[in-house]
């Protein structure tokens, strides 16, 4: 297609997607987006039909998170668009680049309560980085270009473009918009000098790594900094995979369900070097007791995060790929490194639990150790999500997909679908729980439709486990609506979607079953029956300081 050629708005949408290297779109058609689906038909852009718009949104999120590219999803007006909202909110909280294109009723009937009309632009304001409703076909192409640019620039996020049906049908002259030349990357040298002064004075520095490191493409620079300086490190849920898992001084996840060594070390640190993290409440515990002795150097591309919850001594908004190599330690931190190593040893996870029951942490550790180099784990939300974060290890952040900020049950399976599409050669495992799994169970059809070889590891305790855990600990064992013992037969359910599987309940079956799952050429459901008395430990109780973690032993006493 030549510049200046007259085409329909719908054809222009597909052309802009192709121009941005989009190979797969996830979506669901409906009345107000039919012209776009008509233009898609036979085009170079592939579409994967999901079976609910939320599933399509999460597939686009999984595609984006596992590949670093911008994910794209389609939905029709009204209920199609409202079904996307949860996935947009999830992408907003975890800063995921997404472009969502929704059909809208035709311009002349907007505001008349037309069939399947909803003010989607209005609904999008709180759950997108930016959003547009296209009001003229002349603006359509430039708006879509802008949407892709905004989604990926700076701190990434979801962008929604709502396109009325008449604009999809209108003829327009296609012109590639002129694009602004990106600013030369800069480095705030004064702030770097201030940071290095603090680092030079620190006796107990700690690197607090968030999801921003992976999103900035700065994993290599981060690992180089750790290797060069020997600075001990901890990671957030989204930061897992950034630090090499067996690096000396790496203590794993901090926060509510973090490793005790990570939390104690942060509480003792005299300097926090925060890279692409935002002092989330699940990380800090009681905020005014978090890292009480530490000065803070806060590195984040988003200046609004600096001082939002903790005032930093030094704030830097530049590209982490430039900032991290410019930082250094000059003081000998040997005694601190030794102390951190001692904490790491003292609080190392233990898997030698007696008995014949399956201990989920041990199973997940075994899974991590069995996964090939190119693999993705996509989590759902709940107890199993925390066990994955605690006990699995990842080669890079793109290998671990978890609904971190929004905590959306139902995320795992559709996000795994997107990851498998983005990385067809990878072993993709969705780790889910019996509560979460049922929240987007319709996406099993999507797996069947595309014959995706993804694996589902379903940890089933017949409970809404994390809520049950809190009821047990903080609501006097009043188990309100958390019993799921009427779950369906999951193997029969999977079989209906041509997904074979196996069910296990004994520790002695784990190794063989994991092998079955990982060597299966197609999709596979491994149903793992676990005891509902297993909880996630340790735990920072709500409102408590990270210094006051409780462990299983203390509860039993």
């Amino acid at each position: 297609m030549e510049q200046g050629q007259t085409i329909s708005g719908s054809q222009a949408v597909i052309k802009v997607l192709a121009a941005h290297g989009v190979t797969t779109v996830f979506g669901y058609p409906g009345g107000a987006i039919m012209p776009i689906y008509d233009a898609l038909y036979g085009s170079q852009v592939e579409h994967l039909l999901c079976r609910h718009e939320q599933g399509a949104g999460f597939a686009a999120v999984g595609y984006a998170r596992s590949s670093g590219k911008t994910g794209v999803c389609f939905a029709t007006s009204g209920p199609g668009a409202t079904n996307l909202i949860t996935a947009l909110a999830d992408a907003m909280m975890d800063s995921i680049p997404l472009v969502a294109i929704t059909g809208q009723v035709a311009t002349p009937v907007i505001g008349t309560d037309a069939f399947q009309e909803m003010d989607v632009l209005g609904m999008s304001l709180s759950c997108t980085k930016h959003s547009f409703m296209v009001t003229s076909s002349d603006e359509l192409v430039a708006t879509l270009y802008q949407a892709f640019e905004i989604a990926a620039a700076g701190r990434p996020g979801p962008v929604l473009v709502d396109i009325p049906k008449d604009i999809q049908l209108a003829q327009l002259e296609y012109k590639t918009p002129l694009q602004a030349v990106p600013d030369e990357p800069s480095l705030d040298l004064a702030a770097i000098a201030a940071a290095n002064t603090l680092l030079a004075q620190a006796e107990r520095p700690m690197l607090y790594v968030g999801g921003g490191v992976g999103m900035a493409g700065a994993v290599e620079q981060l690992r180089e900094l750790i290797q060069r300086t020997g600075i001990p490190s901890v990671a957030t849920l989204k930061g897992l995979g950034a630090v090499t898992h067996n690096a000396p001084g790496y203590l794993g996840m901090l926060g509510m369900h973090g490793n005790q060594a990570a939390n104690h070390a942060v509480q003792q640190a005299d300097l926090l070097l925060v890279a692409g993290a935002r002092f989330d409440d699940r990380v800090t515990g009681k905020l005014d007791t978090f890292a009480p002795h530490a000065k803070v150097i806060h590195l984040d591309i988003d200046a609004a995060e600096q001082g939002k919850l903790r005032q930093p001594e030094v704030a830097i908004n530049d590209d982490l790929r430039m900032v991290l190599p410019a930082l250094s330690l000059s003081q000998d931190i040997g005694p601190w490194q030794q102390h951190v190593a001692q904490l790491k040893q003292q609080y190392a996870w233990r898997y030698d639990r007696p008995g014949t029951q399956i201990y989920a942490p041990a199973l997940l550790k075994a899974l991590a150790d069995s996964l090939p180099e190119d693999s993705v784990v996509s989590c759902d939300v709940g107890q199993h999500q925390m066990w994955v974060a605690q006990h699995m290890w990842f080669r890079r952040p793109e290998d671990h997909l978890s609904s971190a900020g929004f905590g959306t049950m139902g995320f795992g399976v559709p996000a795994a679908v997107g990851a498998q599409v983005a990385r067809p050669g990878a072993t993709v495992v969705a780790v889910s729980g019996d509560g979460s799994f049922m929240m987007n169970v319709q996406e099993l059809t999507t797996i069947k439709r595309r014959r995706l070889p993804l694996k589902i590891l379903l940890l089933d305790n017949q409970k809404l486990g994390m809520v049950k855990q809190w009821q047990q600990l903080f609501f006097e064992e009043r188990y309100s609506e958390t019993d799921l013992s009427d779950n369906p037969d999951f193997l029969t359910l999977a079989a209906a979607f041509n997904i074979p599987g196996r069910s296990i309940s004994k520790a002695s079956e784990v190794a063989d079953a994991l092998s079955d799952m990982l060597t299966s050429p197609g999709p596979f459901l491994l149903h793992v029956q676990i005891d509902d008395r297993f909880n996630v430990w340790p735990l920072v109780p709500p409102g408590a300081s990270n210094s006051d973690m409780i462990d299983e032993v203390e509860i039993q006493q």
Partner: protein
Amino acid sequence: MIHHLVLTLEQRPEVLERVLRVTRHRGFRVCDMRMSQQEDQRLLLDMAVDSDKAIELLSRQLDKLIDVTTCVVQGYQPIARTING
């Protein structure tokens, strides 16, 4: 404490909703406001907001909005005096 903000905004139908939504959600109450169109078609929004929170917690969030061109914290006097005076 009352803070006075002056914003220039892109001319979009929903831009005022965006600014007011962020203002509410981040814990600030609008006490007074006036909006006018400038010669370059952009909108000038003069706004007084009340909160115990530091004004930077709002101004930095407003600054991030794509359609907010500039966001300047003017001071701490009530806006009514400024824009009516």
